[in-house]
Subunit: 218 residues, 2 copies
DNA sequence: GTCTATAGCAGGATAGAC
DNA sequence: GTCTATCCTGCTATAGAC
């Protein structure tokens, strides 16, 4: 455990973290190794020393940072669900919305996480297989089983998945498309607004537009 | 109207079209001018001759292809709305879902269109201002006024916008995130599945999960 | 308007000293 | 494990012939 070794690990982790921030913000090709190492305050050659090449660094970001973080979010979801007594549809939806929109991540981290995922969906790389196969796919299957008892008996697996994905799409939209959301609504992403978003997603998911029209003419 | 001029215009338009396809698929930095001109079957220098530089070509893609296409989608929305007799909430939502998910665009075009938009939301460039200010912002404002009569009287503008964006987020998800949607549901984007998607979005938007549980135990 | 040829530069990657 | 120096490739952009 010489000083050199400790410094190496710290340096390696700084590279991973800075690389993720930059990849999330601008994408793989727009980011240069020079930028990453400058941000990580280490030498240009460090990326190749620690990760072999730029591509592999990208993959390691998913393996070492993205996946564990996704697991933290899912663990939070489980915890929120356990904390509720009786299992209800509202409780399930609320746990999803809270875990993703508020969840265990900082605002910065959450945005970064969503952006990395969206990039993989837009243009799959090797990381896609891991993201879908290990994390998102199994999670959605689990959600299907959770909501199935509350839905029409004859509803098939695909229809159930469309319901799940509709909820997820809202959560993702409000996490990811912050620029247009802020621009159009005029709101800032502070605690009050994220609370409002959670409430909105829960209500909309349960009742759609009809749940919001109780006081209206319709 | 010499042959040269006709050929020039065709060449310019081929560049625009191929550039959009490549930018949509892989993003600005991942695409090279060499690739674009190769795809457009013209010379490397043609991009600089017609558009000055690569950045400007990107902007022209939005001005000359993206915006007119967005206007075609919105025109289709208007037409679908007009074709309905009495104005209903379901009619409005159905018009949104059909215009975007089925709409006037080919499958390829729709995906490309959504991807360009998402890229601007993730990382705004100069095109963002046009996309939000001229197209998406005004459209969402119009939708707010359309649904307002059907909603609770005290509902504010921001809350109305959140409802609109929830619908749009689903539509965008099912257009844009085709890779994970296909991977997880196992479905292909054929006519039958897009019909199913429209029906799903309409039902979910109107009633959320509760609308789907009519035959269930809850 | 289209082409070839090339300037000029930035990028990823590596060799080798420390 | 970290650094400097450097190779080499591939990029955008332009000059100038046709």
């Amino acid at each position: 455990m010489a000083v050199g070794r400790i410094k190496a690990n710290i340096s390696k982790e700084r590279i991973l973290s800075e690389a993720e921030a930059l990849f999330a913000e601008r994408g793989f090709y727009a980011v240069t190794v020079r930028e990453i190492t400058r941000a990580a305050r280490c030498n240009l050659a460090a990326v190749n020393y620690h990760f072999g090449n730029k591509q592999n660094l990208y993959m390691e970001v998913f393996r070492c940072l993205w996946k564990p973080r996704a697991e933290r979010v899912l663990a939070r979801f489980e915890k929120l669900l356990e904390a509720q007594g009786e299992r209800t549809l509202q409780g399930i939806v609320r746990a999803i919305a809270e875990a993703f929109i508020k969840g265990p991540l900082s605002g910065e981290e959450r945005l970064r996480h969503a952006q990395m995922m969206i990039r993989e969906m837009a243009r799959p790389t090797e990381a896609f297989e891991m993201v879908i196969g290990d994390v998102i796919g199994p999670f959605q299957q689990k959600l299907v089983e959770l909501i199935r008892p509350f839905m029409a008996r004859e509803m098939g697996r695909v229809a159930l998945l469309l319901h799940i994905q509709s909820i997820i799409s809202m959560v993702t939209h409000f996490n990811f498309a912050r620029n247009p959301v802020m621009r159009i609504t005029g709101m800032k992403y502070d605690d009050q607004f994220t609370d409002e978003l959670v409430e909105h997603v829960v209500k909309f998911s349960l009742n759609g537009l009809s749940g919001a029209g109780e006081g209206g003419p319709s």
